[in-house]
Amino acid sequence: MDFFEPRINADNAPFWEGCKAHELRFQRCKRCGKVRWPAAYLCPECLSEDTEWVTLPNRGTLYSYVVMQKPFHPSLAEKVPYVIAEVDLAEGVRITTNMFDCDVSALKCGGEVAIDFLDSETYSRPIAIWKGASE
């Protein structure tokens, strides 16, 4: 299910390129090692501009999720209800994503998810797949 095309800019373009290759790419500071998101020109920890793009594993834990029941835009009227999720990846990175075709009543914050990708005509985006509550 597509919503709107993301706003891609000079900072975040490699992330969205990574999504097309079905990879979660983020910037890592070559000075202090901190991985950052949102994408930024320099490291908010140490202000170094020396940056490399690294690929994080396609899995994480569910920080939280919301079931959108009311459309906040006319074009969403036929898409509700849908789930917006926030997922903690490795290295302290948290992303916004969606979860489709899941049993909403089974979801629980802290549970495990895998990251897959949904390809649209002009871009791809990460989607979380529910793997179950952690014990």
């Binding site: 709107f4 916004t96 985006r125």
Partner: protein, 394 residues
């Protein structure tokens, strides 16, 4: 430490109201200037004494309005303050800016103003789209609305600490009970019960329609000055015994429910410490309540209860009329009117100066005359926070 020197040095000496609720055929700026005019009259000062004017968040104009800026508000009031400013987003900077100007002597009186025709103009708070195009990454995930972002935090607290709709309903109902004692409240005469709460439609689950503040037309303004000047005005006022401000400038998705550096925790720790008070000294709280969950998060972050105690603490018998910790005695933004931080702060001043009619603490059965009220102002999604400890001034 500088904060200790600022204790009890400043005061809120005037509060300005306008007609509110659904007031069609009015521009946003008309509410600003009407609120400021009323605040000046309430304070008993002349408009030429305003040295600084701060206007709340800049909105895109609706209802055919021209753009409402700090310039237009000043122009239409016929004032030329040395300092005029406006939030471009929900960055709550007015307090430190205003105090700094008063402390340095650069300003005699500082006015803070809010006004909008949000209800008649059906203002949308969706910022993730402009003209159907995404303004950031989030629109790609259908993440449009402030409500979804608050709901995300509410859900995390629900799964982690056992809060949920049956707690949030207590907040909604308690505030509605207060509103039913306040004739100018939007929900005056419209009592709410459990059934009414649960029958409200889900919007961004787990938050329902009645967990969210409705839009209001209207405005609200306050006048700040030094305690020395306040004394010369010859009427009751509210002393700023303690205050704190903090920002957490990160994306809403990076806000963590259990962050030890949450803006509300940092701001309230400063304010309580400056004021030299404990929670037991607080007679009432007037809190920014864009959503029911915001009240829970604020009281929790202020340290009134531990996260897992939310269920015991947030009961209508405790925070509603007659309860031992009155919260949002005007009905709050949820049930009185949405004027951002001006809603809670003006109510605190009105309570401390004894002008609250049927809902006046100390007159309402089971309540005591308040001497200390804690207030909050909150910006964006828990990203900017002001905490004020106000005390009755003689």
């Amino acid at each position: 430490m500088i904060l200790d020197q600022l204790k009890n040095q400043f005061a809120i000496v005037g509060v300005g109201y306008t007609p509110q609720g659904k007031i069609p055929n009015r521009t946003a700026v008309s509410f600003h200037i009407q609120a400021v005019k009323a605040a000046l009259e309430d304070a008993g000062i002349n408009k030429s004494e305003i040295d600084a004017l701060y206007v709340y968040r800049h909105f895109d104009p609706i209802s055919g309005d021209y753009d409402t800026t700090a310039f237009t508000v000043a122009e239409q009031l016929g004032v030329r303050p040395s300092v005029i400013g406006q939030e471009t987003y929900c960055t709550r900077g007015w307090l430190y800016n205003g105090i700094g100007l008063l402390a340095s002597g650069l300003a005699r009186y500082v006015v803070i103003s809010y006004g909008d025709n949000a209800r008649s103009g059906r203002r949308s708070f969706v910022k993730e789209l402009a003209g159907g195009k995404a303004t950031d990454d989030l629109a790609a995930f259908g993440d449009l609305s402030t409500m979804a972002k608050y709901s995300m935090q509410a859900r995390h607290a629900m799964d982690t600490y056992g809060t949920g709709p049956d707690v949030w309903k207590e907040i909604a109902i308690a505030e509605r009970q207060w509103a039913c004692l306040n004739p100018i409240a939007g929900m005056y005469g419209k009592p709410l019960d459990d059934e009414g709460y649960f029958s409200a439609s889900m919007v961004a689950e787990p938050l329902r329609l009645l967990d969210a503040t409705p839009n209001s037309d209207g405005g609200r303004a306050i006048v700040l000055t030094t305690v020395e000047r306040a004394k010369s005005l010859g009427h009751p006022y509210a002393v700023i015994r303690g205050f704190g401000s903090a920002n957490q400038p990160v994306l809403p998705l990076k806000i963590c429910v259990d962050d030890p550096n949450a803006a509300a925790k940092v701001a309230s720790a400063k304010a309580f410490s400056m004021a030299g008070i404990t929670h037991a000294d607080v007679d009432a709280c007037e809190l920014y309540d864009c959503f029911t969950y915001t009240v829970e998060a604020t009281l929790r972050d202020y340290g009134f209860f531990r996260p897992e105690e939310c269920r015991d603490f947030l009961r209508r018998e405790h925070i509603g009329p007659g309860g031992s910790l009155p919260v949002n005695t005007s009905g709050g933004m949820l049930s009185e009117a949405y004027f951002m931080g001006m809603t809670p702060i003006s109510e605190a001043v009105m309570q401390l100066t004894g002008r609250c009619g049927d809902r006046q603490l100390g007159k309402l059965p089971g309540t005591k005359t308040p001497s200390i009220i804690v207030c909050s102002d909150n910006g964006a999604v828990f990203q900017s926070h002001i905490c004020l400890v106000l005390e009755r001034g003689e």
